[in-house]
Amino acid sequence: MARRKFSDQLTSMIKIRNLVFEYPTARALDGVNLDVAPGAITALVGPNGAGKTTLLRLMAALETPYAGCITIGGLDTRLEPRAVHQRLGYLPDFFGLYDGLSVRRCLIFAARAHGLSSGQVNKAVMDAAQNVGLAGRLDQSAGTLSRGLRQRLAIAQALVHRPRLLLLDEPAAGLDPQARRELSRLLLSLRDGGMTLVVSSHILAELEDYSDQMVIIDHGRVAGGSTFKGTQLRIALAAPDDRLKDFLAGQSGIEVFQADASGARVIWQGGVEGRAALLQALVRAGFAVSDFGEDRHALEELYFARIDRETEH
């Protein structure tokens, strides 16, 4: 049987269907269905123990599903785990480095272990080191690096072979604000270079800066999700008006994820002029708009709204 190739022409880079995973005493994932679009950053959020890390390990073909299937770029993780391994990069939440090796040797080993030829290794090492800002520390021992620099080296190891898919489990944990900002920039630049990224994190405000899609995992299930290809807007009314939800739903370029008589939170797909037009339309329609602007905490609020709803159920 001819081996299927990792496909570039996919509507979903990751396709998960009816995924079940069990630990000896508990079911960690129970019927997960998920699609991750190529060239996007997907944020995986959820409380501790929700199953995020297990899901990432299954995507990385490090664990075998109890039932259901995962395809990565068209490759089934159960049937072709090694082919999947070669095509992705993965940064676990608790990672280790070969402390006795220099940064250069760590990256050379990572590049060669991922099958890069001798001619490609040096360029790949330099590119990866530059990507994460370690080009000036190539001869420093990995064991002497600070927490933030170790994190960067681990990311460089994961992306030295330029994978099409990068899975990052809590990549910002333990980083200072400056390092977190640099990490956000790095992730955006990788996405702009065509890479698909799945990032699990607890720091929702930062995910908002770079994620295109959010998936909420809770109690081993997908509890909700949303796309963020646009600006998140907050609309508040001085006088409650029941027409607001229907009015917004009737506007083009808007995704409403929370609305009631006194205000709404929406994803706005248009530009600045369109936003002005939307505000004008609201005022013209008789809504007493008291607040209209970018919402920096939409992701967080959406997350808590979904989690609260799950808890109530």
Binding site: P24, T25, A60, G89, P92, G96, Y98, A113, A158
Partner: protein, 442 residues
């Protein structure tokens, strides 16, 4: 170069370490060269140093080559690379032990040269081959054990490394001891009986060593494939069991010697089956202790069997399950041989041995059940607890049980009681185990 081998060379063979090892070896040998004639010479020192470095230290390095990766959290990164399982296996095996091999190789001329002088080049080459094979066997058995132990997620790396070292050292010297027994100074010219063939003990030892080394390397490859998420299928392990059974069946005369009054020539087939059965049962106990016995896999197997996907389930069986099944088949074959044999064996009618044999099979089934049941309680200590229970059942309790021994051991005097007790205990234990597995209790 194999990247995993190169990475290990970077870590193991730093110039300072090479100089240190060379200095250490030559200092030790120089001291023994200058020792008075009454004391052991450099040849003895080189042999002792070789075993210390290659077997004692090498088994530890081979085991830690994987265990340290788990402890330092680099193993996931390794599993995600593109290195072929075979390259990963030999890169680890020979890379992690490259430092001790360097020291061992420095010792070899001091061991081999006297043999060359006294017994000629062919014996020197054979001696060299045996020494190297003993090292490779010890280290590969240690690596193989570590690859099995890490699947249990034991979290006690020191204990795991120690167990790996012990198994590696036992493997290395098992053939040495067998050779010593058969070619004792009093009986230098004696040949060795195996499958009724008169063989030269040293040649037999060397060939056995080479074959078992090949099996150990094959085992390492299979275990590495599992770690890299590739499935193995049952066939290689079944082939190993067949080899093991045939190999051990050849020692039937040794078994016959242990039974007073047994007529070996008349009952050769029975003794061969018994020897094969003992080796298969040993492999079942060993693998039941080493392998993870994952309750999730059990649930998955039960689902597959209930939904009629028998072939899929059979292809996913663990090694201990295959050894267990092979032991049952071999024991039933032995019972059939007893039934067909009209003669007495060691003064006991062959047919009178059937019930005690089936009782032994019941106790064996119960014992394997202990390993699975205890695993549902504790991932970390379940196997040791099960081993402890078996020690109590077979060594401590029979000493105090008196006439109730039939409830614990197969007895010739009360075979029916032993048979009934064994199978009742086995059935109860397995029923309890299956209930716990299906209820996800732990």
């Amino acid at each position: 170069m194999n990247p995993e081998f190169q990475r290990n060379l970077w870590l193991e063979l730093a110039p300072a370490r090479i100089l240190l090892m060379a200095g250490f070896v030559f200092c030790v040998l120089a001291i023994f060269s200058a020792a008075p004639p009454a004391l052991p010479g450099p040849g003895f020192a080189a042999t002792a140093l070789y075993y210390f470095l290659v077997v004692l230290w090498g088994t530890r390095n081979a085991a830690l080559s994987v265990i340290v990766e788990i402890r330092e959290r680099t193993w996931d990164f390794q599993k995600l690379n593109a290195i072929h399982p075979f390259a990963m296996m030999w890169g680890k095996l020979f890379g992690s032990t490259s430092f001790v091999w360097f020291g061992g190789i420095l010792c070899l001329p001091f061991i081999i040269y006297p043999v060359l002088q006294s017994r000629g080049p062919s014996m020197a080459a054979a001696e060299l081959a045996v020494l190297i094979l003993q090292g490779v066997l010890a280290q590969s058995v240690s690596l193989l054990t570590s690859l099995n132990l890490i699947r249990r997620h034991h979290n006690n790396w020191r204990l795991d490394a120690f167990l790996c070292q012990v198994t590696g050292i036992i493997a290395a010297f098992a053939f040495g001891f067998r050779g010593l027994l058969s070619a004792s100074p009093q009986n230098q010219a004696a040949t060795f009986s195996w499958w009724d063939m008169a063989l030269d003990p040293q040649s037999f030892q060397s060939v056995s060593l080479a074959i078992f080394t090949a099996w150990a390397l094959g085992g390492c490859l299979r275990a590495m494939r599992l770690e890299l998420r590739l499935s193995n299928g049952p066939f290689v392990w079944l082939a190993f069991l067949a080899f093991l059974a045939l190999y051990e069946a050849g020692f039937e005369s040794w078994l016959a010697r242990a039974i007073p009054g047994a007529d070996f020539a008349r009952h050769a087939g029975v003794f061969r089956l018994a020897a094969a059965g003992i080796s298969l049962a040993s492999s079942a106990y060993g693998m039941a202790f080493l392998e993870p016995k994952d309750p999730v896999q059990f649930r998955w197997l039960i689902v597959q069997i209930r939904s009629g996907r028998i072939a899929r389930a059979l292809l996913a069986l663990d090694c201990w399950m295959l050894s267990f099944s092979a032991t049952i088949l071999c024991t039933l074959a032995l019972a059939f041989a007893f039934w067909r044999d009209p003669q007495s064996i060691g003064g006991v009618s062959a047919s009178a041995l059937i019930l005690p044999l089936l009782a032994a099979l019941g106790f064996f089934t119960r014992d394997i059940g202990f390993f699975v049941l205890f695993r549902t309680w504790s991932r970390e200590r379940g196997d040791f607890a099960a081993a402890g229970v078996l020690v109590v059942l077979y060594i401590v309790l029979p000493r105090i049980a008196g006439p109730a021994q039939s409830l614990l051991l197969p007895q010739l005097t009360a075979p029916l009681i032993a048979f009934s007790a064994a199978w009742a205990e086995a059935a109860a234990l397995w029923a309890w185990t299956i209930v716990r597995i299906e209820r996800r209790t732990g």
